[in-house]
Amino acid sequence: MLHTLRKILLSTALVGLFALYAFQQRQQTGITSPAGVAVLVPTQPSSPPVLAPGSTSITSRPSAGEDDEDNREGHAGSENDGDDDDSEWSAAQSTTTTANRATTTLPTVIPTTAAGASTTQAPGSGRDGVYLGATANAYWGDVQVQVTIANGQITDVQFVTYPDHRSRSVSINTRAMPILVQEAIAAQSAQVDIVSGATDTSEAFIHSLSTALAEAAA
């Protein structure tokens, strides 16, 4: 039973991935992130969508980036968004699969809302329609996206579920995005100039001080 389920999940993931790959090939101008692409399946068939198991990364992009200077990793558009005092921030997260990441990304299995899907229709290569992604536990909360494709282009991405206290849907555009990845922490031996860490109390504080002094003297 479990075995069958796994088979189904895997094949579903493969279909979804292929569909997205095909879609990407057509889109080229769209997402430029080195990370993978969101795995989406159409809403029309009643079969629930499933995200591929495997490494995950979390992507995010601002909706406010009016400039077209995308393709830069991580912090694109900072010159424009540097003073983002607007409390009405809107953002977007989508869970993506990752491929060939150089960092030590941890494998993470993404739970899905309904794992009992027997078949999943993948979208055609950019076929017009509205596609709902799987609800994914994106580590800091559930995320679910809905993508609208018109004339073979992504015209809108809505967040059906989003870990925001002021829950509401937020829109994104398909531009440069900071990407969150994961790794297991490990002690580093490299020499550093200074250390950032939470302020300590009593013993820890004294310890911190001594290391700070040692660093200063180094």
């Binding site: 995010s60 900072s78 870990p163 297991a184 200074i194 950032s196 860490g197 939470a198 504080f205």
Partner: protein, 248 residues
């Protein structure tokens, strides 16, 4: 290169200046600045503006222009973070959470005004880096292991920018979520935020830590910020490229 570490505002402060003509007088100026901030904003000194405001012997419209700026910045931060950053507690204010980052940023400004182009000012684990090291390399900023304080678990290459870390190792539970009274519930062990300025990095780290898991999304939504967050399971979630983060 000259460097000094001392204690003020109840925390270790380290300044390093790589400019060839740097002098002890530069560091003295920074030390004088921190001492002045401590006198003016300490919640432990009865004559500080903070204490007089809380005691009711000073009215909000009587505070100094500088203190008014601090209070305004705190209020903007409260709005920006949806209430996760709030200096009001039990009816009294304690702007320490902002003053620290602000003091670091202004200390760096003091050095810039003195012509020092390559320096780092670190207080209580938060820092502002300027101009890269004297050898032209970015500042190598270690992220402390929240579980083993003598270890660093990440090295960030920061040409310039503010780096702040909030965590449970912080003094007792000085970070709390004002919207959720009671003990702090989070599985975040620490969160390090990189921003162009330490003022923002500091308050964003504080707010994000108070938010717990939601804090990661909160920071990720701001493309000019980068994070390195560590959870109690020893896993780090971080912005891709954070190890070579460049702030302008």
């Amino acid at each position: 290169m000259i460097a000094r570490t001392w204690i003020d505002m109840g925390m270790p402060i380290t300044v390093r200046i790589d400019d060839p003509d740097a002098s002890e007088a530069d560091i003295d100026a920074v030390a004088a600045w921190f001492a002045a901030v401590n006198d003016r904003y300490s919640p432990f000194l009865p004559e500080s503006e903070v204490c007089r405001l809380n005691a009711g012997t000073l009215r909000r419209d009587e505070v100094s222009a500088e203190f008014a700026h601090v209070l305004d910045a705190c209020e903007r931060a409260r709005i920006e973070t949806g209430g996760a950053f709030d200096i009001t507690r039990h009816g009294a204010i304690d702007p320490s959470g902002y003053v620290k980052g602000w003091a670091i940023g202004r200390a760096s400004d003091v050095l810039i005004e003195r012509g020092r182009r390559h320096h780092v000012v670190c207080a209580g684990g938060d820092l502002q880096a300027v101009g890269g090291r004297g050898d032209g390399q970015p500042w190598q900023v270690g992220v402390r292991n929240p579980f083993h304080h003598d270890q660093t678990v990440k090295v960030l290459a920061i040409p310039a920018g503010g780096v702040a870390t909030s965590g449970t190792a912080a003094r007792g539970d000085h970070i709390y979520d004002p919207r959720r009274p009671g003990p702090l519930v989070t599985d975040l062990a620490s969160i390090t935020v990189v921003a162009p300025r330490i003022e923002e990095a500091d308050l964003m780290a504080t707010a994000a830590f108070a938010m717990g898991r939601d804090g990661l999304a909160f920071i990720a939504a701001r493309p000019h910020l980068a994070i390195y967050a560590i959870t109690n399971d020893g896993v780090a979630t971080y912005t891709e490229g954070v190890s070579t983060h460049a702030c302008r």
